[in-house]
């Protein structure tokens, strides 16, 4: 829909999500010369379209439901309030709403207790203001080089996802991992750790400057044997990203492989901490902590490639990095 000249004022959309009501509300304001706007979008949960979600506009009284592929379209007043009601949908399900028209919004939304998401829109763009909204980790997850499901005994005392997070964080800190970031996955969270340079056997580089560098530095000082090896062969850097998945949902298989820049960017694009709304969720039966190992090889004269499969098992990776010994202490 074309913008009218009178539509100069910033349009604000406030989305209110209520855990108890199990609904999502959106308010569009302020008003302009054009009274009505068509809102289109989709609703899904964990990338599964949600059919039958009731969308109602409070002022205009219009209502509609999402179709079989989660799509909806509704004519509303500019100052209207949209309410998304989806009783029966899991509370922590992942929802995606896309509103197009004079107010074109595109944002990720996670339901949670008392969560409030405010969207300010003046150029047809949308921005999620909610600081606690975690981005979604690619799902299904990209094909890892190795994986390992940690034994349940490590988390026998954990009652919530937050407690699992604290255990993982403590073990990672003891293993000298400097930072992690968080993503949302169905019924849980993913923790991504900083990319590190490792030896071919899976042990991290002893020198921290090398371990956290993306540059391959085979000669710290001159050595004839290493020099001849470098003269005739290509120096290869081995890199690893460890991602922990805490969920009770089976990880679906995927054939996609991440490349090194994407895996490196995971750390920066995730959340700094586990939001309380997610951390409070119970760590009950059926929950597991699975480590995904993404290993890459970067030859001196070439691009980094994912290693599939890794010649080291997931358990070896986690043991050599001292994570498992530290988790057990």
């Amino acid at each position: 829909m074309k913008k009218t000249p009178g539509f100069q004022i910033i349009t604000k959309v406030i989305i209110l999500i209520s855990l108890l009501a199990g609904s999502v509300s959106a308010q569009v304001q302020p008003d302009s010369a054009t009274q009505f706007v068509i809102v289109k979008g989709t609703v899904d949960s964990s990338y599964h379209p949600r059919a039958g979600v009731l969308i109602s506009a409070q002022r205009s009284g219009k209502t509609t439901r999402t179709d079989g592929v989660g799509k909806y379209e509704l004519l509303i007043l500019r100052t209207d309030t949209l309410t998304f009601t989806y009783s029966g949908m899991p509370v922590r399900s992942y929802a995606f709403f896309q509103l197009t028209g004079d107010v074109a919004l595109s944002f990720d939304l996670v339901t949670g207790e008392g969560k409030q998401v405010a969207i300010e829109n003046d150029k047809g763009d949308a921005q999620t203001v909610d600081q606690n909204a975690l981005p979604m980790f690619p799902w299904p997850v990209p094909q890892p080089s190795a994986r390992y499901t940690l034994e349940d005994r490590y988390f026998a005392t954990a009652r919530t996802l937050s407690q699992v997070d604290k255990q993982l964080s403590a073990a990672l800190q003891k293993s000298h991992y400097p930072s992690s970031s968080y993503y949302l996955i169905p019924n849980g969270f993913a923790m991504v750790n900083q990319i590190e340079q490792i030896e071919p056997d899976g042990a991290p580089k002893a020198d921290p400057a090398e371990r956290w560098s993306l540059q391959v530095q085979p000669l710290r000082k001159f050595d004839l044997g290493n020099y001849l090896r470098l003269l005739f062969t290509s120096a290869t850097g081995h890199f690893r990203v460890v991602v922990f998945l805490v969920t009770n949902v089976m990880t679906p298989p995927s054939s996609s492989e991440p490349d090194l820049p994407i895996a490196k960017a995971w750390l920066n694009r995730g959340g700094d901490f586990l939001p309380e709304a997610i951390g409070r969720q119970p760590y009950g039966s059926g929950y597991h902590v699975t480590a995904l190992i993404y290993e890459f090889q970067k030859p001196e004269n070439g691009h980094a490639r994912p290693v599939d499969p890794s010649k080291n098992s997931g358990q070896i990776h986690l043991t050599k990095s001292n994570f498992i010994p530290n988790l057990g202490r």
Binding site: F222, Y227, L231, S234, E300, N301, G302
Partner: protein
């Protein structure tokens, strides 16, 4: 003085042998790097593309002139100044010192400056081309110059 002169065919042969031996060593080195050591995975062609223009044009030029001389009836009578032969040989040796230096410093450049070997080779192209130009000019003048026999 007889020692001031050298038979041109002998001088050409010495220069050609020098060039061929140095070229053969370089080719052997690149052969090991690309086919055995996989030094340039997926980029072997680029490595060879760097090496071939450095040695083969001059090599074919020398062989062409030598073959032409070999077919000449006067070839035994032609001599050149020994000093000029030595100068030419020196320039050729200097050129190959530069060329080998580029190849042998690649691991050090990578180890200490993180410059991949292929990039190191490409970066050196300008300086190598300048020295190669000097060597080619010197060789060209030498191969056509003649001094009267005494």
């Amino acid at each position: 003085m007889e020692n001031d002169r050298i038979a041109k065919s002998d001088a050409q042969k010495n220069l050609a042998v020098t060039w061929v031996v140095a070229t053969a060593v370089l080719i052997l080195l690149f052969f090991i790097q690309t086919l055995v050591g996989n030094k340039y995975p997926g980029q072997s062609d680029e490595a060879w593309d760097w090496l071939i223009p450095q040695v083969f044009p001059t090599l074919t030029l020398m062989f062409g002139v030598m073959v032409a001389r070999a077919q000449s009836a006067k070839r035994r009578d032609i001599v050149v100044r020994r000093s000029y032969y030595r100068l030419t040989l020196g320039v050729v040796i200097f050129y190959f010192i530069i060329l080998f230096g580029v190849v042998f410093t690649a691991p050090l450049d990578f180890a200490f400056n993180e410059t991949p070997a292929l990039e190191h080779l490409k970066r050196s192209t300008k300086i190598v081309s300048v020295v190669q130009g000097c060597a080619t000019i010197t060789l060209s003048i030498f191969f056509v110059s003649e001094a009267p026999a005494r």
